[in-house]
Amino acid sequence: MSRLYLYAIVGHQPVSPLGAGLAGEPLSFVAAGDVVAVVGEMEDPPPATPEAIRGHDEVVRRLAEFSDAILPARFATVQDAPALMEWLAATAVGLGEALRLVAGREQMTLHVYDMGGPDMAPHTPPPSAYPGEPGARLEALGPGARYLAERRRHWRQKERVPELEPLRPRLDALVTAERVELRATPPLRASVYHLIERGRSAEYRDAVEANLDLVAGVRLRVSGPWAPYAFAAV
């Protein structure tokens, strides 16, 4: 029994010939309302080899050339077209919002590494880095207020990579949206995903490189442009 391998969701059915998929299969569409899934029919789900992962991204990049708005799919196979149509219909609102966000845009990634390598102690930002959280006075609070203040600070720290704060204003003109994924594997501290207008990746790289001296205590690795994988969650 054949299965459908899902490559991406697009806003409109592309009219150009799309070429072949991972297994050389012709690409086809499963549509539900305003959203269109680009799929390939396969006998078996492909193994997640480096070649298959590269092949998936190559197909996604090719689709992006024909589609202004594209949500790349995570490497996966789905049961059949009716099940996929049902899922598309049920998720159409979220997919539509995500498609509007990524329309005409692509992704750049900033990997943030501790400067000192894997043996260096994990960096802990000083409490003063978080306005409104007077860490030095936490002990003066009652147990309930202290618990809430600590929780608030914890979540603020989770959401931020404070070393990048001086860099952010220099990227503001280029970045439409941001996702941050904190990593628990030193020296890798975080991966920061930026959504930028298509065709501006060189400007983005230049802006990062020109302002590296503003970023203290960490090392950055820029990667991209990519299809907007990190902005495809619905």
Binding site: L6, T49, P72, T77, Q79, L95, H111, A232
Partner: protein, 66 residues
Amino acid sequence: MSAKPLDTRALLDEADASLLDLVDNVLTKGVVIDGEIILGLAGVDLIYLRLGVILCAADRILKRLE
């Protein structure tokens, strides 16, 4: 019918920074279809756990090249 697990050691040996970003994007980002209709992700969960380590390996290699 399930996908074969990805050999993460092979990825580490390959140590190709662009491949590591590909793994990050293709296996841990992107549209996720939930529910019972999804197939073929067996064996990939381990990759998520190893991904940070793999990306760190890329960092060390890049450092050596600098």
